[in-house]
Symmetry: D3
Subunit: 162 residues, 6 copies
């Protein structure tokens, strides 16, 4: 069974890494797919985001997980990779509604595509990339929210901006 775990990962958090490790355990192969969204201005480039994910997977020794990027519709990307399983992490209720809408929309676009939801570990339940970015920018301590190399990159990124 091959599965795709799509997301913005701008940047990846401990919550993302938790989902990747869980999904890699029950999948034969896991593709972590970074969304290249032209409409948004991300903090990190697609290459930087892919680099941090690769670093995380190596550090965790995940042999069956790889990193890729995509633009356009997720259903088109999934078809191009010939993969019909998506993985999404669930945190809170507002999350759930949005994810549910996405999953049902994707199923409408391609009835063969299935979305599997996994719950994040309780200690990462309330960590979002946007919050991590905001705290890092304000100089707050994000060491419990993201892996070390991500924290380091965030620090450098916000120093550049000065």
């Amino acid at each position: 069974m091959t599965a795709i775990y799509p997301g913005s990962f701008d940047p990846m958090t401990c919550g993302h890494l938790d989902i990747i490790k869980r999904a890699a355990k029950f999948s034969d192969r896991l593709i972590v797919a970074v969304l290249n969204n032209a409409a948004k201005t991300p903090l990190f480039t697609v290459e930087e985001r892919m680099g941090m994910l690769r670093e995380a997977m190596e550090a965790e020794g995940l042999k069956n997980a790889e990193v890729d990027s995509f633009s356009g519709l997720l259903v088109d990307y999934a078809r191009s990779r010939d993969v019909y399983l998506l993985i999404r992490g669930l945190r809170a209720v507002t999350d759930f509604e949005y994810e549910f809408q996405l999953a049902l929309t994707n199923r409408m676009l391609d009835p063969g595509l299935e979305t599997l939801f996994i719950s994040t570990s309780t200690e990462y339940l309330f960590i979002a990339s946007s919050v991590v970015r905001e705290i890092a920018q304000a100089g707050g301590d994000i060491s419990k929210m993201a892996p070390d190399y991500v924290c380091e990159r965030l620090r450098r990124k916000f120093n550049e901006h000065i």
Copy 2:
């Protein structure tokens, strides 16, 4: 009983049409009112949006439904039309909270104004104009989400933009 069904309809979806047909059945007269919101940049002009709604109503043979537009506060528009019933479609829970707040705010502004909520058909529960626009722009298949003439207009609109 005359009722107003207000919205942005940018563009109208199968979900909107479902609500219009249901509301036209139990109302004596239904006014579908397109919001002309100066603060937002819509994809379609008010005239285009009204045109698609009119086309839909004719195709469905809805004789007691008409299309209008308004700007400013909905309560002021309702008073100007001497109508005291509003219709809103409900989909999911996040929807519900927002709609609830709107209804109670409108009731505070005019205690005589009543909002009636109807639930969309299950097959349209997760269709929003924003999602339809996004999928159309990415070249995805929206034929199950919006009427044919809306799909056609979306296709042309996004070709214009190229």
Copy 3:
């Protein structure tokens, strides 16, 4: 337009009365239908519940509202009365989900049946019959939660039980 407002009304609260008054305003005729649920042991008999509702309607001068009772499926009752509109009051989110399920189930049983939801006034948003019963039984002050004659009946009911 005739509509049915079904419920247990065991007993009716200020929240119920609020919905009845609102619905009577936009309906030509309103049937308040007391559910005779054999599976539950109500505090008040169907006759007592109907009596309190009638008293409330007279006190409010509602000429186009009447009281009835039913057992079995609501869709069968609605068909027997040749009425295709149901009214339900909405309070909070958990309410909403339950009501949504009911409405979609009833629509599945009879596609011609429509459910209209109205939001209760903010001051009655959190009043439920079960809470009113519980507080009355413990001797608490329910004068802001139910009309006077209902409060009086509750007091007598709990004195009988002693």
Copy 4:
């Protein structure tokens, strides 16, 4: 990948069958496990419930799905079968919270156990066994909510009771 889809299935609905078919597609082997809950009085015996599930799977030609039953804790059953993936269907938000609590509790009891959530098809989003039982008992039409043989068994069950 082997997975367990646990539940009461009292009786199975079209919603359950939808989840079984989806899960059987991406699993190597699927165990549909009927909970034998001593604390509750089910309408159908465990054997009857297993029989209906087997009939459904045969009718659908699902070769990699089997039916089993269990009592006690789900984590103990999963360990006894040496399976570490659970499948649960998600419908609405209240569902989600309950399922989330279950998944996190099971993970606390056995950190190696993972729960995958799948969303039901929109047409079955609001179908629950309890609702199907209630409507069948009142003589309502459940033909769109459960497979034919389940409808037939429900009819007979409620005739027995008379």
Copy 5:
């Protein structure tokens, strides 16, 4: 500032203890009040529940917290103790709605009574007494969900029952 933390505590969990410790930190005096609800059959008697709470507070060295019990309405108990602050722990969304209704009902019964909500630690977010009882009865491991002496009492309680 004196505050009351009311509940059933049947039995107390790590989640309850977490709230007690947090509340004792910002209150001058904290009264943990065990509800003696005649309508329900608890697993532990009020005395047993109070005993476990006392044991927990001593083990934690909480000098400004005491244990009491009450029956009837919480507002009457609060008045009898001349305390006007209630503490409640919040976990998930369904919790929140119920707690909100309780708080607004209590405020209606006594406008001088204020309810303060605190969020439980993430690791205890999904632990409820009912779940702990159920797992203990089935012989599962509850050592991360309740203090040692509570686990021990639960073990003995379910052995008695055999």
Copy 6:
């Protein structure tokens, strides 16, 4: 006990004032702290917002409440004031999730910091600054949503803009 009630207050509403009055009753000292968020363009300057808050407190005779402003992370501001209690008002469910995430994030940043949630009065449950601004701009009646001097300032502000 000293507590901080942080917010944007752009502008303060009757809902904010309700929370301030409640919190001032059970706190020894209350600091209402206006967030100076460089990333957003507020309608009123920090000084204007502080001025309206001070006017409100004087009008209400709140002697133990003061107004301050802060920028950067709330946890840093709280530490700089040596205060470890935050007050937040809760309205609806979507609110709750956002507030919960904030509270757990702040607790992660500083485990000694506690957030107390209070529910707003039912009549102010659905009033948000953004809604008040929008209605005022459209010339609607906001007299039940904000104190007089706030209404007056809003009127002048939107006249300036013309």
